[in-house]
């Protein structure tokens, strides 16, 4: 007989209702590798929290169109909108992150109007602020900080971008900071500091070589745009960095709960493992792991082996074609469940103290409030 997937005795259970009901929980971050269900989980938790009485806001990043529509989000306007048809005493707001606008607002807040204009119209700024490598992660964290400071919500649920690696959103602010402290930036900003003369002349032959290469590579005009941009930005970035550090500390605070979302597949579970370890290293509070889209069978009592043997028996005898086909199908289903169960066991063995919750795969996508409510219920029913 097959063991019921999910029926592991010693694994601590992730009790999400306890987390969302605890008024001390102020921020929930849903993270995980691409496509595992981060946005769905964030939205479902938000709805459930609201319907259990919290004043919740969900910050989504690039939600699937129909999921966004289900929450009444039709445009990317970067402000939380109330979600209709939420039952119970709480409230739910939802928003989609507009990374460019968030970035623009930071610049406007930190630079005088003239300098802000210089930055906002620079081609490099436009490239940086709408590119995908790190900016989105950075801006999601920035927006989280803003929502928190506004004090309007008692629970903020953040979704994270579909990164190639789940860690990008932790690393992006650091990377941007390192980049702005880098030697290269100092060379590029030197002309401004040296009163407009080419900084490269001030340096030794090594720098001359570099300047030559940069000019060859980029062309003189590009280099000039770049220098203007970097020196304008440099003036703004002190404040920028301070905020990144503030958000980082917010993430470490006891009111924050990280929920790592994973799919029961090797790559996703490996990524989840890696992420769990990384959170521990950074002393970020992990609530637990949600294994999403788990395949189960209503006929779990019939094992893959018995089902396959019976199908074979019927096939060799002839007749009962339908039953044979159904048994084949069931065999495949049970094999898949067993594979997924093994992936889960690997994870659990490596991380025996991490609470785990499982959400079954539904046969269709989640794209209305009722679907989200259903996912919320499944998340809580462990």
């Amino acid at each position: 007989m097959s063991e019921r997937p999910g029926g592991h005795r010693d694994v601590p259970v992730l009790d999400l209702d306890a987390i969302i009901d605890d008024p001390g929980t102020r921020i929930i971050v849903c993270c995980g590798s691409g496509g595992v269900g981060k946005t769905t989980t964030a939205a479902a938790l938000g709805l459930r929290a609201a319907e259990r009485g919290r004043a919740a806001v969900v910050l989504t990043v690039d939600p699937a169109r129909r999921l966004a529509q289900s929450m009444g989000l039709t445009e990317l306007d970067n402000v939380p909108r109330p979600v209709e048809d939420v039952t119970g005493d709480g409230t739910l707001h939802a928003m989609m992150l507009d990374m460019k606008r968030t970035f623009d607002e930071i610049i406007e807040a930190h630079a005088d109007p003239e300098r802000a204009r210089q930055i906002l119209t620079n081609p490099f700024y436009q490239s940086l602020s709408s590119s995908f490598s790190g900016t989105q992660e950075y801006m999601a964290m920035e927006k989280l900080g803003q929502l928190r400071r506004s004090g309007e919500w008692d629970l903020i649920i953040v979704d994270t971008p579909p990164s190639r690696s789940a860690l990008d959103f932790l690393d992006a602010p650091e990377r941007l900071g390192r980049f702005l402290d880098g030697r290269l930036i100092r060379v590029l900003t030197a002309p401004a500091k040296a009163g407009g003369r080419s900084a490269f002349k001030l340096f030794n032959a090594g720098f001359g070589l570099i300047a030559g290469a940069m000019t060859k590579l980029l062309g003189a005009q590009v280099l000039k745009d770049l220098q203007t941009f970097v020196s304008a930005l440099d003036a703004v970035f002190g404040g920028f960095r301070a905020r990144a550090e503030q958000t980082y500390r917010l993430l470490q605070a006891p009111g924050t709960a990280f929920v790592v979302v994973a799919a029961p597949e090797r790559d996703a579970m490996r990524e989840a493992s890696y992420f769990v370890e990384r959170l521990a290293e950074e002393r970020m509070p992990l609530a637990g792991v949600v294994i999403n889209r788990v395949h189960r069978s209503p006929a779990e009592g019939l094992s893959a082996a018995r089902s396959a043997a019976a199908a074979e028996e019927l096939e060799s005898r002839g007749g009962h074609d339908l039953a044979a086909a159904v048994l084949r199908l069931h065999t495949g289903r049970m094999q898949l469940a067993a594979r997924e169960h093994r992936e889960r066991e690997h994870f659990v063995t490596a991380h025996p103290t991490v609470p785990v919750a499982e959400v079954p795969a539904m046969w269709e996508d989640v794209h209305d409030l009722e679907g989200l409510r259903q996912v919320g219920k499944l998340l809580a029913a462990q």
Partner: protein, 340 residues
């Protein structure tokens, strides 16, 4: 399988295409399909280069090899002879190549690397990074032997995901905002000459699920609007349904009679008493209804993909995951469907 001569003579949907770009939503099987496509294109004695650009060593993983260096090397032999070579493009190395090839400035390039110029480029202007990477790829497409023939019959690029593909390939546009004139701009124009030509086809990998299909359709529209040449759609990880259409149709509407199934279960010796067989049949019926709904949804997704008018190919879900044998199986399926 046909003889070598047959294979060479066959018409494929992409005759004349030398650069096959493979994109798709994350995790749908881009790397797997790119590898299988490279094998399929090489079949029958051709030479194909498989390129990856995100430094993730995905090619090494699917071919079960140690990490690939920044160097073109043969990694597999195709059915009926033919070679697949691979290259893992590292943007830093590509920049050194570029400086050396056009300006003979390797040493300066090294200094730039040390200064973190590449880190800089990826942070501030991914367009620069992309032009280096696509530049290296299109150089391999254009490269000729001494006798004037192309070194590679085809180049297959395991490309960034759908959300980024148009920006990635549309380098001229991306770079134009930053550099209206100058060497980078010229380089981008050269790349564009290959990428926007009929020698290129951008293929999409998708699953039969709502999100990846929607992304594919959006990606196709965006690509076409940018004047880039769309290729085919590879629906990956397709599960065949074993049940007859009439049963599926009824079950999708919630109608499935477990009585007949119960008889079959009993005949197979799966139940002791009548009530036991009935209980198992009830449970299985629930599974069938769900399966039928899923199958119907997949069929709807197929139809919306077909409405795009692009050639579509189906690749089976390999039950034991993708190993080397599985890769050859996918390659054969690609050839049988005329994609290579």
């Amino acid at each position: 399988m046909g003889s070598l001569r047959d294979v060479r003579a066959r018409d494929t949907d992409w005759d004349g295409v030398r650069l096959h770009v493979v994109t798709g939503k994350g995790g749908t099987g881009k790397t797997t399909v790119a590898a299988a496509l490279a094998l399929a294109l090489a079949a029958g004695g051709r030479k194909v280069l498989l390129v990856e650009v995100e430094g993730r060593q995905g090619i090494a993983q699917v071919f079960d090899l140690p990490p690939l260096p920044y160097e073109e090397r043969r990694i597999a032999v195709a059915p009926d002879g033919g070679d697949v070579h691979a290259l893992s493009i590292d943007p830093e190395e590509a920049m050194l190549d570029y400086l050396e090839m056009f300006y003979g400035m390797r040493r300066a390039g090294k200094a730039l690397t040390k200064m973190g110029v590449v880190d800089f480029a990826t942070t501030i202007a991914p367009g620069f990074r992309d032009v280096l990477v696509t530049g290296k790829t299109t150089e391999a497409v254009r490269r000729k032997n001494k006798d004037g023939r192309r070194v590679y019959d085809a180049v297959v690029l395991d490309a960034p995901p759908t959300g980024r593909i148009t920006r990635f390939l549309n380098v001229t546009n991306e770079v134009a905002g930053l550099a209206r004139v100058g060497p980078i701009k010229n380089h981008a124009d050269l790349v564009n000459g290959v990428v926007a030509s009929p020698e290129t086809a951008v293929h999409f990998v998708t699953l039969l699920e709502e999100m990846p299909v929607q992304e594919t359709l959006d990606g196709l529209a965006e690509l076409t609007a940018a004047g880039l040449p769309p290729g085919g759609i590879f629906t990956n990880m397709v599960r065949e349904s074993l049940l007859p259409a009439s049963v599926l149709d009824a079950a999708a509407g919630g109608r499935f009679d477990p009585a007949e199934l119960a008889l079959g279960l009993k005949a197979a010796g799966l139940a002791d008493g009548a009530s036991d067989a009935a209980a198992v049949a009830e449970a299985l019926a629930e599974e069938i209804v769900e399966h039928a709904r899923r199958t119907a949804l997949e069929q709807r997704e197929r139809e919306s993909l077909d409405a795009s008018g692009r050639p579509r190919y189906e690749l089976p879900l390999l039950a034991d995951g993708v190993d080397l044998a599985g890769l050859y199986e996918l390659a054969e399926s690609i050839r049988n469907q005329g994609a290579a």
